[in-house]
Symmetry: D2
């Protein structure tokens, strides 16, 4: 028996950094996962740990490096960490650094932005995943758990029917989803935060401005607008679960439900994924 | 053996209502729980269901009543439901209606509020709980899962020490909590949403504007400000778990951590609860 | 404004103890919550921490005391902790100690019980809650998240109907629930583990051996059998959510569903609670 | 812009089947996800749903097919569903059927197995994933959320040290993990349940019987034993997060902690993955 693949590292390293710029402070809360592949077969074959940098060391490193190198963008910190680990440990041939950011938003008290108080922010967790070896780096950023909903402007008609089809056609339904999206950068950009925001803005634009004849159509429009807006991207991967809200049958009680009263049916759910490329 | 307490009902009735005011739509997503006490002993003693309104009927009723009676405030709908159930079913002697609202926030696309698109707002779930019988109604509203954090302006000194004490004193720490608060109305107010917002604003004010010498002190200030701002309240109940963020020990690596790098330690957590009264 | 109630302490203190009895080891994993009430008003009114034993000290104490005093039963450890805290800190007038046990079960490998390997066990988390002051102790133990299901032997008929009733009567349905139960001991017993096991066995007996005409009837039987079996109990509190499994409508596809194919509908769910007393 | 990948379907279709074999009944609870790839580009490019079998139809089909075709093994049902969908819908070029089984275990009441009562078994969820097109089928089965722990017989020494290393060497630690494993069948076996059980038994054997010098070594032994025991497998993929339990520092209180008192530190956690091949 032999090993055909392996990786190891530390997952779920939570970290909060306070940026103390005079009286106004800013906080950033991230979670880092670092997985390494390389010269580690001996640990599997014979329990020889001589090349296995402890995952505890990986964890310590992340906190230590955050002090001087974690700035505004999780991408820049992930790229730095990839360089650090590959530069420091010869047994590491490749690393995958994933960072998620759970956003804190500056609190507004009495119409004034507060200097050091924050509130957990709107839905949507920012993500980045850097895969690197000593000759190349691959940058994929994204967003997940972004819940959005249109109360009209969506339908589903013209689908094939068979003996197992009971779904009625509709030209006005609720369209709700929890967006998971990632996008591939062909090269680093100057300001990842700004570029990522532009991409998410395009998703919102695509989601809102045109009638949706299918989740698929909306997904393709979201990917297309993002690619058009950001030349440094070559592909966008989207997963849009169809978080169903069904009309409740009020006719049984002598009432008419004109698209007013819905019940959420989170499971089972439709599940649409695709990659849009340039 | 005998019954000394019983209640039954339907929990977790999810419901989304679309308000269609011309071109601009609004959505409200709530979850309702209805528990009844009354003349139900026969079901327990002898499986006699003749007074047990099915929980399925309770569920149907909530959807049906939402059509005409769910408006802006969950309090008003809960009060309506309490009246409805007590008025309709003689076997119901008392009801407890709990409603939570999972907020959707109108989406802004290109600086413009969109007419029918929404995004999940994460911070803070609104709650209300009405306990009613045929002669009285008790109104307790609240907020939960409201995550807030101060990156400075908080300390903890002067506490007693014993052989099990290892905690150092500090005059500058992170104070983070996930607020659970409820407040008791002595009578209905005209606009529950507005009044509740005023209460939460006072919480924020109390949390942010003064140095916190103890979570307890901050809690008491939060309750006090809310009671001062809203005369219809007679008491405020607050639970403030102390969501610890500890400084990571960087000295081991020859670095100084001047309140910059923290790791979240969600469990175990401090847990402070109190009721503030007029 | 004044304080009418307060308590504070440390929640979710996770702890695993290894009992090393020669070659055979045993593990016990528990989570402890300790809340104190007492002479703490000064912390709320003026940020004076001089009576506030830090929750960090409470945490340290739990680990330290577990070394010599955590044995087979969580009740005995909770009673010990209550005595310890009340004896040591004059500012503590009352304490509530809650302990849950997440069970590990000895692993069987090749038909042999292994000396030091364990597997997460069957559903059901054991709980205890001790409320104590310097003159009295109150012992409530329990079980939660115990998921049980009967595939037949349950029905629901004879209930009142109104215009909102659409539920059909049935004499053969699935009855599934996630038991939350607590029971009050009038005095300590010699072997809490054995007594608690006897109580849960009675729940199972009541759940399985007789036809259920209502969840209420089954609940009352569960409480009654437990009280009959254990004289040291004076009351049993049970909450039985009705975890619905509904027959899927296959008639639309020309098939008959004779109680074979169900879909789980966890929410909304029926919710039945009661206290059975001697 | 163009589509380079897409799939769609229905996820999280929950289903419970009751097998009524005379007086003794058996239940099986599964969750099915069905994703199809094929001739669906028109939906993305132009909202043309003429080839998009509704996910609601897919859901209906799963319930309908379960009546006659769901038996003891989730693999056989998944293979059947794959054939059904590919046979029935020309626009489906490939399907991925994933099924998980949440186990119910027959209840034992008074030393007797009960004919129709069941209890949730917590440890280990069975999984299968069939990827099929019209010319081939790929079978990968597995287990997840299987929590196991050794209280001794595990160490970690001989690892490289650098300025970020603070971890001490140990020859006696707790080894705990939540196993996620999948294995690839080169062809269907007669009795998937029996074969899968044999594989998991080998995991347990490998986990328990030898001293673990590294999680990696234990992982490799688990994969090796499984491949040796089951000739129809060609590879085993394992992920073993290192669920840390750290010794609590009692020396600060004048006590010695001889591997007795640990605190669980679920995050951050070590994360070891590998594929073992024949």
């Amino acid at each position: 028996m032999k090993l055909s693949f392996s990786q190891y590292g530390k997952s779920a390293v939570g970290l909060l950094k306070v940026f103390r710029d005079g009286d106004v402070q800013t906080v950033k809360e991230i979670e880092v996962s670092t997985l390494a592949s390389g010269d580690f077969d001996r640990a599997f074959y014979s329990g020889d740990n001589s090349t296995t940098v402890p995952t505890d060391t990986i964890k310590n490193t992340i906190y230590a490096m955050a002090k001087d190198h974690l700035g505004e963008s999780i991408e820049d910190f992930a790229l730095f960490l990839a360089d650090h680990f590959l530069g420091k440990y010869p047994s590491f041939h490749g690393v995958t650094i994933e960072i998620t950011e759970k956003p804190w938003q500056r609190m507004v008290v009495g119409d004034q932005a507060h200097a050091h108080s924050f509130q957990r922010a709107l839905s949507g967790i920012k993500t980045t995943c850097i895969r690197a070896d000593r000759s190349s780096k691959d940058i994929v950023s994204g967003i997940k758990e972004l819940e959005i909903l249109k109360s009209t402007g969506s339908g589903f008609v013209g689908f094939p029917r068979c003996e197992f089809t009971t779904l009625p056609e509709t030209t006005d339904r609720i369209l709700a989803t929890r967006v998971s999206a990632t996008w591939h950068y062909t090269k680093p950009v100057k300001n990842f935060n700004e570029t990522n925001r532009k991409i998410v803005d395009q998703f919102m634009l695509a989601f809102t401005t045109e009638y949706s004849r299918a989740v698929q159509e909306t997904l393709f429009r979201m990917g297309t607008l993002a690619l058009e807006a950001v030349p440094e991207l070559d592909r966008v991967m989207l997963r849009l679960p169809n978080m169903h809200f069904f009309q409740y049958d009020l006719a049984r009680f002598g009432m008419e439900n004109k698209g007013e009263i819905f019940f959420p049916a989170p499971n089972p759910h439709g599940d649409i994924s695709a990659t849009v490329e340039r």
